[in-house]
Homo-oligomer: 336 residues x 2
Amino acid sequence: MKTDKILLDHGNGGKISHHLISDMLLPIFDNPILSQLNDSAILNIQGKSLAFSTDTFTVDPVFFPGGNIGDIAVNGTVNNLAMCGASPLYLSVGLVIEEGFSMADLEKILKTMKTAAGNASMQIVTGDTKVVPKGAADNIFINTSGIGLIPAVADIAVHKACVGDKIIVSGDIGDHGIAVLSQREGMSFESSVISDTAPLNYVVKKMLMRTKEIHVLRDPTRGGVGTALNEIADKSDVGIQIYEDKIPVKDEVARICELLGVDPLYVANEGKFLAFVREDHAEMILEAIRRDKVAKGACIIGEVVSDHPGKVVMETRIGGTRIVDMLTTDQLPRIC
Amino acid sequence: MKTDKILLDHGNGGKISHHLISDMLLPIFDNPILSQLNDSAILNIQGKSLAFSTDTFTVDPVFFPGGNIGDIAVNGTVNNLAMCGASPLYLSVGLVIEEGFSMADLEKILKTMKTAAGNASMQIVTGDTKVVPKGAADNIFINTSGIGLIPAVADIAVHKACVGDKIIVSGDIGDHGIAVLSQREGMSFESSVISDTAPLNYVVKKMLMRTKEIHVLRDPTRGGVGTALNEIADKSDVGIQIYEDKIPVKDEVARICELLGVDPLYVANEGKFLAFVREDHAEMILEAIRRDKVAKGACIIGEVVSDHPGKVVMETRIGGTRIVDMLTTDQLPRIC
């Protein structure tokens, strides 16, 4: 899709975002590490395997049920690193603050970041603060970049899904997006849903201590589970089969999604992961990760198939099948 | 200075920025690597000494004489890494784009970034793109974070200035700030000044090949030479003596500064450095770096003294002395 101007959908993490990346960013930057489009770049520096990741957070509102921009800014990068199997080590923080932003709110956000970093055993070691005149930004934007160390046992990448792999999701989907939406001005529903923001590095470590047979990890943030599965199907050139009745969604999230006309498959999560694992290791992995509170609702939602490579197909509750495409147009900008 | 709200001056790189950092950010994040306040964090990962740096660019306008936001976004992080003596390796790019931003301008900026990264031998390996609704940001903000490798020979940090050190500046100061200002709406002067944006990693490498006796490097961006010298005097707990008649400023820059009532000592540079070097190595270093086009105007502007620790004192052209404080209030927001 060619346009002269940047559209909101260029940032939604879905199909139009991917066009921007594949049609403009990748050809210009032209780098084999970048082209892999893993959640982190995988670097080799003098024999050490490091993960390096960046993410900017523009969530609106800044405070939402279950957290604030500081939680997701730290956990987001922690999780990007964890999705390569890395142990997070060092974090940078880049703030863009609108003139007039409340100093007390800033303090609250920074304290949240410190706590979140500590919870993930990360150190905040470098930073930058810019202030722009009133109206030139909306409240506060936070970039975090992180470095992690990849253990030798990890061989995880978005192109490594194999036919037969079981697909695990670590718990209920869509909580973060609905929690943020419930706080938006003009939204007419009440909800008790809170963001699932959480660090995933320990549960990933636990999995890697049990088995090397984790082929792909992905945290389904912007664009949701539907988009993440499509990225994996595309990069691994495999078919993906999922089952609607196996996908865990809280009743309240499902009800609000229906009310808003959005599909939970495309709603952002900030503390969930998808794992593609060897078939005969799946139950053992489930059993191990369910002991961890961030994955106690983990379950198998489908498998990798040799049919329809590059496509995600869902068996619906009523027994039909439908193709699950990437997110196209989004009614939920600034969800993270 | 206590305020309830964030002020523009909290982002100017000067005195009020430093208060925000020392009174809020450092106590909350409470990390010994961060507290050093070097241009990059200096990390030890399994025996490798790495530099890690982040910077967000919000320059207005996005295109200015001598470059655009893409140049300074790459060179800014390259230079932060170089100021620890590091060879830059890997770069991340985090974009926040306002809905409606020109796709052609985005392409131009990204191509500039690719060229700039190549010029500094850096690879762009990971990225993130967010789009916010029209009015929620102004055009485009770019965060870059970078990783570099610190050679064993480098032992450079902001607290390492020694009494007797000569202070080198690598060329004319104030060009970047004046070039950007000349493009601002409502500015009534014409100018042929162009930004000095440039990568400094090669010239630093050249210095390190000649001598280990480089104690401090600093690129005087926001807040200018005056603020950078104060940071060094403070962190090294030494006095700094400079000479007004030795500080290189283009006639045109000096004239425009006078017109605008700003002091070139506080105007941002994007391709200059300050080097504190052992006295008897200074001439040899000057001779070496002047062959490099980014430092052909290098000269000695002063020295480190045992008097007035923590303070920067300038001998003026008319023979008096004045204290050069950090930048206080800034009329030049969004200069980088």
